[in-house]
């Protein structure tokens, strides 16, 4: 290319994080903690529900983490993190007052505007509730703008349930149909047992006006999508959020690519009709 056609760029690059302070840490389960952060420059994160950030623990590295909180709830933001790698383990060792770096928010979140006026069927498997929670909060905060709201949530066992307080609140609400299941019960468990697709039996879904939002592990997608298609939903109203190795977050490094698409740019939220052409997606 003629070098004169190249864009002029800010030397304060796309790779420089903003500093954020850890305000609060809450233990969710044995493996997950919920972290509340605030950007040090005082600005709100400005995320759309479903977007992710790149979190730096300086000296350890950077990791993509989806934002769990809704932009409708104040200037702080929350990240629910499972300790699996170096960065997330380092986060788990942090105490309030510590500083991290934040880049983003990145990616395409959930199309909240297009969802307005429709029924919403949330399906969360395991950690899938983490990104989904940002959208659930947004929808509940604008409850009057949406039709029927159904939340289906499944985990392997009861000890893995996240956001227990909130689950109880959803359960108590009259304007939300909340159902939960576990693959394997323990003595205390009184609820449904079975994989998440068992919740679909007899589930009322109006195919003309419902958006299904599904987030979970890769294996769950195939089965749950089959269920919602069976309910007559068009592919364009089935939304999923994909997990990939979004190393740079800015569409360069190539790690998150599925077929011809960079997940950090076109995703992580996709409609099922988009995914149909991406053989590597699920």
């Amino acid at each position: 290319m003629d070098a004169r056609l190249l864009p002029t760029v800010d030397l304060d690059t796309i790779f420089r994080p903003r500093l954020a302070q850890l305000l609060n840490v809450e233990e969710m389960t044995a493996k997950e903690k919920l972290f509340t952060f605030q950007l040090k420059d005082g600005t709100p994160l400005g995320q759309d529900p479903g977007q992710f950030v790149e979190v730096s623990v300086f000296g350890i590295g950077e990791a993509p983490i989806s934002v769990s909180s809704s932009p409708t709830r104040g200037d702080t933001f929350e990240l629910c993190v499972r300790a699996v790698g170096n960065v997330t383990n380092a986060l788990h060792r942090m105490a309030p007052g510590a500083t991290v770096g934040i880049r983003g928010p990145f990616g395409q979140g959930f199309p909240v505007e297009e969802m307005r006026g429709r029924n919403v069927l949330f399906v969360a498997g395991g950690l899938g509730l983490v990104p989904l929670r940002s959208l659930i909060h947004a929808v509940l905060d604008m409850r009057q703008d949406f039709g029927a709201v159904t939340i289906l949530y499944g985990t392997k066992n009861p000890s893995e349930l996240l956001f227990r307080n909130e689950l109880a609140q959803w359960e108590a609400r009259d304007d939300v149909d909340y159902q939960v299941t576990v693959d394997v019960a323990d003595e205390s468990w009184r609820g449904n047992v079975g994989v998440i697709t068992t919740l679909f039996r007899g589930l009322p879904v109006d195919p003309r006006n419902t958006v299904a939002v599904i987030v979970g592990p890769p294996v769950m997608y195939r089965f749950v999508i089959r269920e919602v298609l069976g309910k007559g939903l068009p592919m364009g109203r089935i939304l999923v959020s994909l997990e990939r190795r979004m190393k740079c977050g800015v569409g360069k490094c190539g790690h998150c690519q599925i077929n011809g698409v960079y997940v950090c740019q076109k995703g992580p939220v996709f409609t099922y009709s988009e995914l149909r052409n991406l053989q590597e997606a699920i």
């Binding site: 760029v9 030397l11 300086f58 590295g61 770096g101 360069k252 599925i258």
Partner: protein, 342 residues
């Protein structure tokens, strides 16, 4: 842009002149092969050699590059690091000029990458035309990169005792102007240039058995071909093909701290989609675990995805990946087999 002429014997003084103001890099010998390196004396520069081990992309996108300096405890604002210096790349081949176009797109689309673009913008590219194919592995003619119209500041084509020089930018023209020894091309020079180009074109053969524009369709149709499994059995997953490729730009990002454990830097380093861990996420899931799937991904990137993203093929036909492949995975053969399996 004007056409100029330089006597071959004046090239050495030209390089000497350029070395006074710029770092000049070009093709040098290394253990009997060619690599791009900094020219210490004009005699080192080999304008007639090609087929370098890796491409000159390392001058815009180095193997390892610092992106950030930080305090481990976040006590000061992390500082972005962008290093660039004025530089002339003397002797870039048409295929590498075409590859640079691809990188320009990749690093300026959506999120402009200052680390690449600063280096790129401060470099002047002096292209040198090929006379004949490097070897049986290059297939630039089939990929449409045998000739380049833009992407250089100057472009040299050898003709008898002269180089006929196309100027691609005002900067290139100014470079020659201030040196002062290039003359305007005459009518005879234009005729000569056309003759040289014609002869060159004849010496390069088509390697693909089909029009390359059909390649994305062939690929799409063979997504589930057994060929990928066959190649996967052979592939060593050593990453060499990506690392020598002039258009590959995937990278990894890592932190390194100083021994005082209080400050450090973040850097990026070349990566390869053929390596097993490339698409692995923190939870351990590997989204491209099978070797054959990774091989397919590379060919799809070169022959389809990049074309869809940027409008041109990700492969420029330089043949470096084939030369570097110990198990003889050769895109010419792969693409022709895809066609045969139609």
């Amino acid at each position: 842009m004007p056409l100029k002429v330089i006597e071959k014997r004046d090239v050495e003084p030209l390089i000497r002149h350029l070395m006074e103001r710029f770092q000049v890099v070009g093709i040098k010998k290394k253990d009997g092969k060619n690599t791009y390196g900094v020219i210490e004396s004009p005699a080192e520069l080999r304008l007639d050699s090609c087929a370098t081990i890796t491409s000159p992309k390392k001058y815009f996108f180095p193997q390892r590059e610092t992106l950030l300096q930080f305090a481990v405890d976040g006590s000061w604002e992390p500082q972005a690091v962008v290093e660039a210096q004025p530089r002339i790349i003397f002797g870039m081949r048409p295929c590498d000029i075409a590859a640079t176009w691809m990188l320009d797109m990749a690093f300026s689309e959506v999120n402009a990458d200052a680390n690449y673009l600063e280096k790129r913008k401060r470099a002047l590219i002096i292209g040198v035309d090929c006379k004949e194919p490097c070897d049986e592995y290059c297939f630039c003619k089939s990929m449409g990169t045998l000739e380049v119209e833009t992407g250089y500041d100057l472009f040299f084509t050898a003709a008898d005792d002269t180089y006929i020089v196309r100027t691609g930018t005002p900067e290139g023209e100014a470079l020659l102007g201030e040196w002062g020894k290039a003359r305007e091309a005459l009518y005879e020079d234009r005729v000569k240039l056309r003759a040289v180009q014609r002869e060159k074109d004849e010496r390069f053969k088509e390697a693909l058995e089909f029009d390359v524009e059909e390649l994305p369709r062939f690929l799409e149709d063979s997504y589930r071909s057994l060929l990928w499994d066959v190649l996967g059995e052979k592939c060593l997953s050593c990453g060499s093909c990506n690392l020598v490729c002039p258009t590959c730009y995937c990278f990894n990002v890592l932190d390194e701290v100083k021994l005082n454990l209080s400050e450090g830097e973040r850097y990026r380093v070349w990566d390869s989609c053929q390596l097993e861990g490339f698409a692995k996420v923190a939870t351990g899931e590997n989204f491209r675990e099978r070797r054959g799937d990774r091989v397919r991904h590379r060919f799809f990137r070169k022959g389809k995805y990049m074309k869809e993203m940027f409008g041109r093929f990700g492969c420029v036909g330089c043949g470096r990946c084939t030369r570097a492949c110990l198990v003889h995975i050769n895109p010419i053969e792969v693409y022709n087999q895809l066609k045969g399996g139609e």
